[in-house]
């Protein structure tokens, strides 16, 4: 896939500003209508709160931003190393990718408290969680980008007798830049999210700490003010990387949300072999790290401890039942939320193709809101929709909606122009164009979004269960952390991560079947 080198003629475009103005206006009006309901603070309340507490919020923001920046740098460095390793040794790619996905699927809600115990007081957990939140979203597009060059560019390098180093220097490094920027753009707000989750685990300062305090005090203005600052910082970070990309690149960054399904599988049993290898390496790294750092067996559980807790211990059956009940409660929120988010994201993107005038403004708002961290959204959604099913499902749906919408908008625009010209030459209407050309062209982007929605929705549901509802696996993990029941906590982490990977792989299987019909070139490549 070669990014196209089109850049629109620059002309002032006010649709984005209009979109923001519309959001602010609706917010102000809704806030006034709901005054006294302890749900919504108006933009003016938010502004007043920020001005009154500028010093406090400023110090907290500096703390969180510092940790996020270090985590951002570390996570991206790891992503670049992993992608380089997969490139240098292509046979390692399935295992490297699998391990990277498995670690990305570790629920931050549980890894946070574990890291807090491991690191003790200080900024370690915040920085580590920020790094964990970003490395995958950079690794995936970079891996695609390093291979995105057409074969003839490599033929050119080889025709002068040069090898892989020259390929990397003259072709791959530069060809992957748009993809790297696409990853960094998503990573910038994600690092902020990671740092805030880290602060929830018992930090002394930071935006996360202020958010927890405001929620406990039911200080609606403070909750909305902190969420607005977090959202603004995330949007600015997203926009800053976007600006840097535009200044550096001659082509627009591609939208890539997930790695393409493995195209080079040669046998029926290869995927299972790779999965077994990933599992083996994961167990070895887990056990090896614990032993290498001499971590206390009280809180740093080894694979064998989790096996005992789930299978051989006298109370294993009870542990399994507790986990199953919690997972059952979570899935009641998770599955409808994901389905609603995917359906609404794709549905709105398709509907806006029929009303192009609305599309530009909506996309700007969606791209901006996509970068708002879940920890900022969660308290607001809980305030608005309560701590029950509606609030949780809404939050999961919101978390899935924005990336799906943005990806589907992009996918719909990938419809080949010449095929659309054929439809135009028969005076076919917009619905026929959508049905026969644009929706099939959207499917790869939709499935990429669906796969990435698995870890994203697990993060959303566990955060909201932890912060608000007190039910489900997120709450069980928070509870077991606070009661120092590390057997249960580690068992939950393992089960959630494995289920996330299985969900991701399951969507991948479905995707390959559908793309084999609608986008065969992506599967047989």
């Amino acid at each position: 896939m070669i990014p196209t080198a089109k850049r629109p003629v620059s002309r002032p475009d006010y649709t984005g500003l209009l979109g923001v103005a519309a959001v602010l206006l609706v917010w102000e009006l809704a806030g006034r209508a709901l005054a006294g309901a302890y749900i919504l603070a108006t933009p003016l309340d938010v502004l007043a709160h920020i001005l009154q507490n500028a010093g406090l919020i400023g110090r907290a923001l500096r703390e969180t931003l510092g940790n996020a920046a270090i985590g951002f740098a570390a996570g991206n460095a790891v992503a670049i190393l992993l992608a380089s390793a997969a490139l240098a040794w292509p046979r390692s790619e399935p295992v490297v990718s699998g391990l990277a996905l498995l670690v990305f699927c570790l629920p931050l809600v549980a890894t946070g408290p574990i890291l807090r115990v491991l690191y003790g007081p200080g900024n370690g957990p915040q920085i580590t969680l920020a790094a964990l939140a970003v490395y995958y979203t950079t690794f995936v597009p970079l891996l695609v980008g390093l291979r995105a060059a057409p074969a003839v560019w490599f033929d050119l390098v080889r025709s002068y007798g040069r090898g892989r180093i020259a390929e990397l220097r003259f072709v791959r490094a530069r060809a992957s830049l748009p993809y790297l920027f696409a990853g960094l753009q998503i990573a910038a707000p994600a690092a902020f999210l990671g740092a805030m989750v880290g602060e929830f685990t018992g930090a002394e300062r930071g935006m996360g700490v202020l958010t927890i305090r405001a929620m406990r005090a039911l200080d609606v203005s403070a909750i909305w003010a902190l969420a607005s600052v977090a959202a603004a910082v995330s949007i600015l970070a997203y926009a800053a990387v976007g600006l840097l990309a535009r200044l550096t690149l001659t082509e627009s960054p591609p939208v890539i949300l997930a790695p393409p399904p493995q195209p080079r599988l040669t046998g029926r049993h290869v995927p299972f072999g790779n999965a077994a290898l990933v599992l083996l390496f994961a167990l070895l790294i887990w056990w090896g790290a614990m032993e290498a750092f001499h971590l206390s067996a009280f809180f740093a559980k080894r694979p064998v401890d989790v096996w005992q807790a789930l299978v051989t211990a006298p109370d294993a059956a009870e542990t399994r039942v507790r986990l199953a009940v919690a997972l059952g409660e979570t899935s009641v929120f998770l599955l409808p939320g994901v389905a609603a988010g995917l359906a609404l994201g794709a549905g709105l993107a398709i509907a806006l193709m029929l009303a192009p005038a609305l599309g530009a403004g909506a996309t700007f708002v969606a791209v901006a809101l996509r970068s708002v961290p879940i920890v900022a959204t969660a308290p607001l959604v809980v305030l608005a929709f309560g701590r029950g099913a509606v609030g949780t499902i809404t939050l999961v749906a919101v978390m899935v909606f924005f990336p799906t919408f943005v990806a589907c908008r992009h996918g719909l625009r990938q419809a080949p122009g010449q095929v659309l010209d054929v439809f135009d030459s028969y005076a076919a209407g917009p619905v026929l164009r959508l049905w026969h050309v644009q929706i099939p062209a959207m499917l790869p982007a939709f499935f990429a979004a669906a796969r990435m929605s698995v870890p994203a929705s697990v993060l959303a549901v566990t955060v909201v269960e932890w912060l608000a509802t007190g039910r489900g696996i997120g709450s069980l993990m928070a509870l077991s952390a606070s009661l120092s029941d590390y057997d249960l906590l580690w068992s939950s982490v393992v089960i959630v991560a494995l289920l996330s990977v299985l969900g991701y792989a399951g969507i991948g299987v479905m995707e390959r079947r559908i793309l084999a019909v609608y986008a065969a070139e992506q599967v047989t490549r």
């Binding site: 057409p150 033929d155 080889r158 025709s159 002068y160 007798g161 020259a166 003259f170 001659t250």
Partner: protein
């Protein structure tokens, strides 16, 4: 060492029992014996998909043969690749989109580990008719202009062996005629061994000293024709009876090759 001397002079090309089949058993080139004299220009003409480009890639060492060998100046292709004595212009222009026309031409010098030569770059840009576009990126050029930039890039290293895979496919007729006048002159001056793949019979006659006509896949040589027209061509050479006679001969050989292949295809 003899092979070194041959490569730095104008290397001849030898294909000995050369064949190529792709995985799945698709035979592209039947065992082929071929000798091309150094310092001359040879055109490969044949129907689409007959294996012309594959033959070019085998000679360039970009593809490994299934059997047989290629010798360039008496040595395997790896030797001339190692010494950066070869340039290839690909069917797809293969310009890097983030480099300007000048940047793309200079890239060849960097890849060949040769010193920057702004004057040579400027002269080539003018030769291929891209004056005023040196600082333009490929995305803003037409297909023909990109191909001309790719030809300039292939020539800037002054290669001993130049391989051109349908280099004028998208070039407009007027520029094509101009290039057909200029390029053979430069190749002759530099004593470049040139191997050219083309679909256009008149283009082959204008550019080459020798034309090899290939059969439909799997490729074999159905005619080997000399072009006895003096270089540089006199104006209006394309309208002369001699020129037309060669075009007719190539055309007839192509038709014979197609007819002979039909019974095979029907099997």
């Amino acid at each position: 060492m003899g092979s070194e001397a041959d490569i730095t002079e104008s290397p001849g090309i030898q294909c000995i029992g050369l064949s190529k089949a792709f995985p799945g058993g698709v035979e592209v080139i039947r065992p082929l014996d071929l000798t091309l004299e150094g310092g001359r220009t040879t055109a490969l003409v044949g129907p689409s998909g007959c294996g012309k480009s594959t033959l070019l890639r085998l000679i360039a060492g970009l593809e490994a043969p299934s059997a047989g060998e290629v010798l360039i100046g008496g040595a395997p292709p790896a030797e001339i690749l190692r010494k950066a004595g070869l340039s290839m212009a690909f069917q797809d222009h293969s310009l890097l989109p983030w480099r300007t026309v000048r940047g793309n031409i200079e890239l060849a010098l960097k890849l060949a580990r040769k010193p920057a030569d702004p004057r040579a770059v400027r002269d080539l840009v003018r030769l291929v008719g891209l004056d005023g576009f040196a600082e333009t990126r490929p995305g803003a050029l037409s297909g023909g202009m990109r191909q001309r930039a790719a030809i300039a890039r292939a020539m800037v290293t002054e290669p001993r062996l130049l391989l051109l895979d349908e280099p004028f496919g998208a070039v407009d007729e007027m520029t094509r005629r101009q290039l057909a006048d200029d390029l053979p002159r430069i190749w002759e001056q530099r004593r470049t061994t040139t191997l050219l793949v083309t679909h256009s019979i008149p283009e082959a006659v204008l550019l080459a000293d020798r034309i090899l006509v290939l059969s439909p896949r799997p490729a074999r040589i159905v005619a080997d024709l000399a072009v006895p027209l003096p270089h540089p061509h006199a104006p209006g050479v394309a309208a002369t009876p001699e020129f037309n006679a060669i075009v007719q001969a190539v055309s007839a050989a192509l038709a014979r090759g197609m007819a002979a292949a039909k019974p095979l295809a029907a099997q």
